[in-house]
């Protein structure tokens, strides 16, 4: 019985079981197979580097500027929305017959303000110099990239809509944004650099980055 390809590859890499090594010493076919695997590896390593298209750096900088503009636009949109909410809330409270806003909890105007505040607070946590983000493992990096992609998608929708979103949709997007930022803090903020944990609050709920 010949060793499997997996067994032979282990031998090629200087590992593998002694019985497989003994087999290969006595089996010309398997010895040839191991040699062929090594040859293939050398040929793969010998493939030339590929030349990227010209002008790549300029395109990267242009894309960075575009993303920064989109983010700034979002900040402005958030600030404008927050002011609007504040103006509406203040106006309601100053009316002589002012009564507390009614309706289901998810539809109250202060929910939107809470979400925006939480969003702002989480972004500050993410920008904090004490929050380390070493991007140590590809799996962690992939998780962070996935979260940032989802965040960018929400930001794009918020920016594209300006102030024209239905209230329920805006609430859903801002709520999703806070959840994603919360996950990002957890994914990135493993330590605060002083041996402790990052602490922050979302809607009054005290949280701690793991």
């Amino acid at each position: 019985m010949h060793p499997t390809t997996e067994n032979l590859l282990a031998l090629r890499d200087g590992e593998g079981a002694p019985e497989h090594r003994r087999h290969v010493l006595q089996c010309p076919e398997c010895a040839r197979q191991v040699a062929s695997m090594s040859e293939l590896q050398s040929e793969l390593r010998g493939l030339p580097a590929l030349e990227p298209p010209a002008g790549g750096w300029e395109r990267i900088l242009a894309e960075q500027r575009r993303q920064q503009r989109a983010r700034r636009a979002l900040v402005w949109a958030a600030a404008a929305a927050a002011m609007l909410v504040m103006a509406v809330t203040t106006g309601l409270l100053l009316r002589p017959d002012a009564t507390p806003p009614s309706g289901p909890p998810a539809a109250r105007s202060d929910d939107m303000a809470d979400l925006m505040n939480a969003s702002r607070e989480l972004e500050m946590v993410l920008r904090s110099p004490s929050l380390r983000s070493p991007v140590l493992r590809p799996a962690e990096a992939a998780r962070i990239v996935a979260l940032e992609d989802q965040l960018a998608l929400i930001d794009t929708q918020l920016v594209a809509a300006g102030g024209g979103l239905p209230r329920s949709r805006a609430l859903a997007l801002w709520s999703g944004r806070v959840e994603l930022l919360d996950e990002l803090v957890r994914a990135r903020g493993r330590y605060d650099g002083r041996g402790g944990h990052i602490r922050y609050a979302v809607n009054g709920d005290q949280r701690r980055a793991p």
């Binding site: 040839r32 197979q33 293939l40």
Partner: protein, 202 residues
């Protein structure tokens, strides 16, 4: 650790320190140094030049965002390579939603291919085509292991899977590459009976 794809080029500490502070010249120098390795790895992992170009851009955008947090406690090239791998993995995961994990069909132009006079050049064309034809995961594993020198444990960690997964994907890639490449090699070496040995094994 091998540097077959150029990720371990010398990087001056001063350049890195300046780049971390956002110095445009230092950042451009990093791009000039690593654009080829990043693009090459992106193309090899995904099997497509267009995807390689996207990964090149995404990787350097990530670098611009994350460089201030790079602590310098490992080789810079190694850190950068992990970003490339994670971008390629993300792309593969997205693509896998749309397609099954089967060997790709070679494009029509491949059928019209005629051997180049130089054997080494011909072999590279064959290898390029065979790599591109592999299923995504098998291609990524064989490249990361055989060329980039990642261990099965490191590949398992990157994919969030077991070492057995990495080993079986490597074997799968080798089986297919040998299957596709051995006939051509046998033509080059008429006296070499590797093809019949390979056929017997299969």
């Amino acid at each position: 650790m091998t540097d077959a794809s150029g990720f371990f080029a010398e990087v001056d500490d001063l350049v890195l320190a300046r780049a971390r502070r956002g110095d445009p010249g230092a950042l451009e120098l990093l791009h000039a140094t690593f654009a080829r390795p990043v693009y090459t790895l992106g193309c090899r992992l995904t099997g497509a030049a267009e995807a390689g170009e996207d990964i090149l851009q995404e990787t350097f955008l990530e670098l611009l965002r994350s460089l201030p947090s790079y602590r310098g406690d490992g080789a810079f090239g190694s850190w950068l390579r992990r970003i490339v791998v994670s971008k390629a993995l993300m792309r593969t995961r997205r693509a896998r939603v749309r397609s099954v994990e089967e060997p790709r069909e070679i494009s029509d132009s491949a059928g019209a291919w005629t051997p180049a006079p130089d054997r080494r050049w011909q072999l590279r064309i064959d290898l390029d085509r065979a790599l591109a034809r592999l299923p995504d995961v098998a291609r990524m594993v064989v490249w990361l292991h055989d060329v980039e020198g990642l261990t099965h444990a490191e590949i398992a960690e990157a994919f969030g899977r077991s070492e057995s997964f990495s080993k079986s994907q490597l074997a799968r890639a080798h089986d297919r590459l040998q299957q596709w490449l051995v006939p051509e090699r046998s033509n080059e070496h008429a006296s070499d009976d590797r093809e019949s040995a390979g056929a017997a094994r299969r």
